[in-house]
Each structure stands twice: as structure tokens, then as C-alpha cells.
Symmetry: none
Subunit: 462 residues, 2 copies
């Protein structure tokens, strides 16, 4: 066969000591490499000619060293398959060492925040990757624009305008490696501009609030009532972080009066609205609620992500920024924090080709069915429990009898069901009395484990 070294590739760092002669030195170095596992069992070695050329020594010396090691049993030589490392009882490092698995990993997971990962559209994504990679200019593989690839910003501008009512221009979009990353950048920029307090919602993710705190900003929770977050008391804040289309986790859409109020406040005071549109694509019972950003692109930052619509592992999100903020945000990000260009180019192609819309539609159908199954199961097995916030998204809030939340969450944990109570999402300084409820992420399980997860949930409900 005589394939060259390059054809199967092993690039091996050998430092043959010259002390006992070249042959001896090479033999020792190779034996060492096998013994230590640096050369894995079965690895095909380069031909003696190639290795000799590489090391600048005589071919015979290499052939003799190989011969020695075959004789010692470290290597095998067979007609037509060259010289290989012998198959021996070497234990390869396992991909996930068992000792790293979290103890007591739950059987079912209904914690919201992750979509059904098994439905990631692998084949379609690969098709898009092939087209994108073939078409990309070589320059795309360089460091690039801190805002992200122009192909993706162009595709996003079109999609967001069409599907979410965002007023977006490719030049005003900044691609980043996730919502949290974007929020961290915004926190730093706001702080540098002199902002001290950011209003947040009574319910949300502590993790997000902490990103603001770390940036040196205080968070102040806004009241929450049946019309959603109350945006009428924003006076002392320099910015407000909201989930207007689908309050996380309560699931309500911000009331039109409250939408108008927050935009009025921003115009009046020069404040900034940070619109977290984490799952705007998933609305079931009526047309999606358009982005707040459409009302005033100069005072609203729109933040979207592929983490819910595709997969968090892509680490792709985007901000649509008011023109006045772009320079500061791009500088705070810098090109070294860019996301991988291949995924950016692929997502651009995925959107442009229509595959994104197809995927979202099919995912919407899947999640809607799960929601319907959840509602039906509750009606049949836990009629006391009322599901709210179910017109959209990947999770529901199940209202529990007062005082029962904690025991239900504990019972779930005992049953191997990962689940959060609503208190997990409540800001520590939220004004209203705590509500007993569960936040059920029905998007998280795979299709085949969803029925089991729902069954486990029903068993722990009062």
C-alpha cells in the first residue's frame, strides 16, 4: 500500500536521544511513546522512508528500530498494512468519565430553559453547512467583524423584521455567543454610561440579575399583577430588563398599556429597554406578540437567541441595537469574542433557505402537542391544579394550593423528577406575596421520554 506518512497522518513528536546511538535512541523514544499511550494501539506508523526523511536519519536506522520493537512486541508489521502499534491492554480515556456524572442525576427533567435537543435538525443543518462553507469567501475564516458575519446579520435582519416585527438593519445587529453574553456587554456599557440601577421583573432568572450586579448595577424588581409586569414605576432606573412577549416564567404577554408606558418612559428619560425575546417564535393560540422594539428602535435593545429555537449548544444569539449603542457594544465585545464563523454562516444559510421557518413550525407543533397533553393530563388527574401561561413558549406555570410548593418539589426530587418551584424564579426583593406554583418545562424532554416525564409529574401533584 505504501501510503505516505501524510495520508494517515500521525504527526509524532519524537526526541531520539543520541547517547546510545541513533537506532537505540529512536527505539527508546518510540517504545516510550507506545508505553505512555501517546501512540494509541492500532495507530499506523509512517513508512521507514518517510520517518527517516522527517528525522533526517538513514532509512535503515528507522527500519531497524521498527524491527526491534516488532521483536519486542510493541509494534506489529503485516504485509499490506504497514507497521502499527500492537493492540494491547491499554485503557483509553473514556469520553465522559463516570466519576464526573453528577450524583443522582434525575430520570426526568422538567426544568425549563432547554428545548428538545433530540429534535435538533441535524440533516438540514449539515445541508446548510455544506452550502454555506462552499460559498464562503476565504476571508470569512479570519478574525472578522466584532458584530459577526455580514451574511448572518443580513439573514437575521430579514427574519426578525418578517417574523417578529423588529425594525432591524444588518449594520445594527451584533451577533454574540448567547443572551447572557449580550446582557453582560450591555451591563458593562450601561455602567460606563453612568447607569446605576436596572429595573427587572419580579420573576426571572437570578443568573441574569447577577450578570447585572457583577457589572456594578443594582437590580430593582417591578411589581407584577394580572396585566403583567407593572412598568409605570420606572422613574429612578436607567434601564429595564423585560420579557414582553412571554414573561419568564409567568407566561403572560405584557399588557398593551404597559408596553406603551415603558416606551413612553424610555423616550421621556432616555432610559433603555432591554427586550429579552427568548422564545418569541413559539405562540400557539394566536399570532405571536410582536417585538416591543418595533415601537421604538432608538430606545429598545432587542435580544434574541437560537438557544430555544434550535439548541443552546450553538451558542448563537443576537442583539438589535439602537445606532447610538453599537460602537460601545462592539468595542466591549471585540473580535476575539466572536462566535465561530462556520456556525454563523450556516445559520445564515439555514434562515435564508427557509429551513429555519420550517424547523420552527415543526417544533411549534411538537411543543403545542405536549402542552395539550399536559393540560389534558391535569384535567384528568389533578383538577385542582390550574395551568397558566400556556398560550406560548416551552413551559407552563402550575398553580398549587397555598403552602404546598416546597413539598411538591421535594417529592418530585425523590421520584427522580427535576423540577423548579416558582419561588426559584422570584426576585428576593419582589413586593407581592409569594405564589405557590411549579414551573414545568415541557420542551426539555425528548419525544420518547415526554410521556414518562408527564406521568412522573402527575404522580407528585396534589
Amino acid at each position: 500500500m505504501g501510503k505516505p506518512w501524510a495520508a494517515f497522518g500521525v504527526d509524532l513528536h519524537l526526541e531520539p536521544s543520541g547517547a546510545g546511538g541513533l537506532r537505540r535512541g529512536l527505539t527508546d523514544a518510540l517504545r516510550d511513546a507506545v508505553r505512555s499511550g501517546r501512540l494509541a494501539p492500532g495507530t499506523r506508523l509512517p513508512s521507514s522512508r518517510t520517518l527517516a526523511a522527517d528525522l533526517g536519519i538513514a532509512r535503515n536506522t528507522v527500519a531497524e528500530a521498527y524491527g526491534d520493537l516488532v521483536a519486542e512486541g510493541w509494534l506489529t508489521a503485516r504485509q499490506g498494512s504497514g507497521t502499527r502499534v500492537a493492540e494491547r491492554a491499554v485503557v483509553p480515556p473514556s469520553e465522559t468519565a463516570p466519576r464526573h456524572r453528577a450524583p443522582g442525576r434525575p430520570t426526568h427533567n422538567l426544568v425549563p430553559g432547554t428545548p428538545d435537543l433530540a429534535s435538533f435538525p441535524r440533516a438540514e443543518w449539515l445541508k446548510a453547512a455544506r452550502r454555506a462553507l462552499t460559498a464562503a469567501p476565504s476571508q470569512a475564516f479570519g478574525y472578522g467583524d466584532p458584530r459577526g458575519r455580514p451574511e448572518l446579520r443580513t439573514a437575521l435582519a430579514g427574519y426578525l423584521s418578517r417574523a417578529r416585527g423588529v425594525r432591524a438593519d444588518p449594520d445594527g445587529i451584533l451577533v454574540c455567543s448567547g443572551f447572557s453574553y449580550g446582557l453582560r456587554i450591555l451591563g458593562a456599557v450601561l455602567r460606563a454610561r453612568g447607569v446605576r440601577t436596572v429595573a427587572v421583573e419580579s420573576y426571572g432568572l437570578e443568573f441574569h440579575w447577577n450578570l447585572l450586579t457583577t457589572a456594578g448595577l443594582a437590580t430593582r424588581p417591578l411589581p407584577y399583577d394580572e396585566l403583567g409586569t407593572d412598568t409605570r414605576e420606572l422613574t429612578d432606573a436607567g434601564a429595564v430588563l423585560l420579557t414582553p412577549a412571554h414573561q419568564f416564567p409567568m407566561g403572560t404577554a405584557l399588557h398593551p398599556d404597559r408596553r406603551a408606558a415603558v416606551v413612553d418612559w424610555a423616550r421621556r428619560t432616555g432610559g433603555l429597554v432591554l427586550e429579552d425575546d427568548y422564545d418569541g417564535e413559539f405562540r400557539y393560540d394566536r399570532q405571536p406578540v410582536g417585538a416591543l422594539q418595533g415601537l421604538d428602535p432608538d430606545h429598545v435593545v432587542y435580544l434574541g437567541t437560537a438557544s430555544k429555537s434550535l439548541a443552546p449548544g450553538l451558542r448563537l444569539a443576537w442583539m438589535v441595537l439602537p445606532p447610538s449603542l453599537m460602537e460601545e457594544c462592539a468595542a466591549a465585545k471585540g473580535r476575539v469574542d466572536n462566535c465561530g464563523v462556520l456556525d454563523q454562516l450556516t445559520l445564515a444559510e439555514f434562515i435564508t433557505s427557509g429551513a429555519y421557518d420550517r424547523h420552527v413550525r415543526s417544533a411549534r407543533l411538537r411543543y403545542r402537542r405536549r402542552r395539550d397533553a399536559l393540560v389534558a393530563a391535569l384535567a384528568a388527574r389533578a383538577p385542582e391544579v390550574r395551568a397558566t401561561g400556556i398560550a406560548a413558549g416551552l413551559h407552563a406555570v402550575l398553580r398549587l394550593p397555598p403552602g404546598t410548593e416546597r413539598s411538591v418539589v421535594q417529592a418530585a426530587a425523590w421520584q427522580g423528577l427535576a423540577l423548579h418551584g416558582l419561588s426559584f424564579y422570584r426576585h428576593e426583593r419582589a413586593a407581592a406575596d409569594p405564589l405557590d406554583a411549579l414551573v414545568v418545562g415541557y420542551g426539555t424532554p425528548s419525544d420518547h421520554s415526554w410521556a414518562g416525564a408527564l406521568e412522573a409529574l402527575c404522580r407528585v401533584l396534589p
Copy 2:
């Protein structure tokens, strides 16, 4: 001269149609390539023998096709310099559309730091992506381990151990979105541990020093002499940032005594060595210099990257950390800053399948030829200019007569040649007298523009 096709590289797919005969088909294909700009003016074509062998046709046919095109004025043939594309007013389609071209963008770029982006192995990468994406467990698409995907950490541990002499365990590797990102994490962790000063080299990248400064650390340059960076004066530093295998940009390998000295210092004081192994794969004249980390994995952080070996656009780099540092570094990174999992899985497959070694090997050959061409051109056209640091890497240092650096860099700029003088890389508090020199990144141009860039360089040399 008869250099092979690969030396001029021309990433050119010729598909001579057989319709009007082979000679006619080849003539048409070549004319097309020149007309469209795919073959740039001045590009040297392969010898008729080489091209004939490449295409599997008779040498005479190629010679006749060349003759036809010389007669038509598309090519020129001169004794001793082979057949070249005629210098004409052909405007090649730029990789980025003209409206995106920055004003005054130079025609040639010899600034180091970016490899030849046109040689990114698109087809091989796509193959690996297909295999990786098909094999990946669904869970891989989730938020994941802050250290990065286990598949990639396992592949890297094997590769780094085999090819760079790094002592690596998958559990001790942290994948991050670039060397700079890793350095920023390390800066934050060192500062939190109470370190105040990091020793750096007299020559390096200000950008890196600034990352440390931003983390609240002072940088102090170490002396530099003919044995490389002097690591004997490290007393008051808590850490040292080094490029031991190939000093950037001077190009020397750290002297064995200095390697020993820095490891001794680290052991004695508990200091940390940050080993920037940015282009360790590319050594031409002898075996690569093994990683310093191999000498003491408990006191050396090894930092590697795909930015030079593949492309910066991947935003993939890795740190091999002493066990005592992993927890702090992983916490400082957090899972939201993970790199996209698809690229991580693909790189793992790319390494495991041997494609990475093959690619590195072919790139090494490409860059070595460029280096040889550079050295030959200097000997012929600028015998006063001495090239140093040329045993490895993607750049060379050209020593200039005292006092001429600035005027040469300016002359280059006037000629549309982007180029840095050595002073660009000198730490502002470096002790030794400034040296006049150019740092020439011969890895940066694409194959088809390399000849032109070299010609432009020769024109501005004294």
C-alpha cells in the same frame, strides 16, 4: 527551477473540456482563469511537466496550450523565470465585495497572525462535521460542561501528548474561544489569587499585555538576548507569559538553560508559567521543540489554538491546566461562554480521524516553500537584509540597517503593502536598544497572491 504546482499553489480547479480536443480545452480553461482573475497577474504557472502530470495529459499538450496563450498575450514566458500570467489590468474579484472593502485596504498583507485562509480544508472539515454530527448524542446540543465537549478534550489530550509532548488529561483541558479569551480568564484568576505582576517578553503583542493590564496586573518585560528571553530575573513576578517553542515575533526557541531556569523558578516560588504555543506545529528544519509544559505540568499552563493551524474564524483554543487551577478557571469561564458544540465535535473528529495531522503537514509544506522563496528572494535582491527566526512558524524577522525601519514600513504602506516593523511588537519598557527590523508574515497571503506580496516586499527593501 521547476518548482511543483503546489509551490505556487494556485487553488485552481481546471476542468479542460474535451470537446474541441485537449489542447483547446486546456487553453480555454486557462484563459478563463486568467480573465476572471482566478489566476492573478504575475502568478507563475507550474512547469508544463508538472501540470501535465497533475492533469494526466501529455506534456506537449500543456506546452502547446501555454504557447497559444503566450501568443495571445495572456501569459508571458521568459528564460529562467518560467511561464507567468501577464501583468495586465485585470481586476480580480475581491473576496469581499468592493463596497465592503475598507478604504485604502492594502493590496498585499504581510502582517503576521493569520494563516493562509484560502487553504482552509473545507471539504475535509465538512466530512468531519457530518461524521461528528451524526454520531453526537442529543445531550451534546445542550449547555454543556464549561470545560468543553469531552470528545474534543479527549482528542486534544491525545494529540497534544503525541505531537507536542504535552502531559495532558482530558479532565485538565479547558476549551475556549481563542488564546486571548484564555489569557483573560487566567488574568482574572491570577488577580483573584493575589498576583500583581506578570513578567512578559520584551517582544510580543501589546494586545495580550493589555488583557493582563485590564485584569489589574502589571506587566514587566524580561530582557531578551541571543539565547532568547532571559528567564533568570523572575523574582517579583507571580507568573510569566512566554512563547518558548518559537518566540513571537523574534522566532527563536527558548534556550534549554532558560527553559530549566523558568521551571526552577516556578517550583521554587509557586509561580505560574503561561506557555503560548501559538504555532508549535510549524517547524521546518528539525523536529519541533517540545512543550515546556512537559517539564512541569503542575506549574505550566499550556495554551494552544486552532487559529494558526486551521483558521482564526473557528474561535477554538485550549488550555491544559494544572489541576489546582481548573476549578477557578472553569468557574471564571462558565458554560454560557462555551464555544459552539458543533465546531468542537467537528474538530474532535477532525483530529481523531487523522485529518488534522494531514492538514498540518500539508500546510507545513506550503509555508516552508514560502519561507524558502523568501530567503531565496532576499539573497538575490536584498543581500544586506538578513532573515532570522526562520526555522519555524509563519513569519520571519528581517534585520534592517540601523535607522531604516520606519522609512521602510512607510514605503511599504505607500506601495499598498501592509507590514509591521519590529518596534510594533516591542514592550514600551523593554530594556535593550530597539532593533531595526521587519516582521514578515509569510503565512498570511493566499497562494495566488504570495508571489505578488513577495515582489512588493523586495521592492521596498533597502
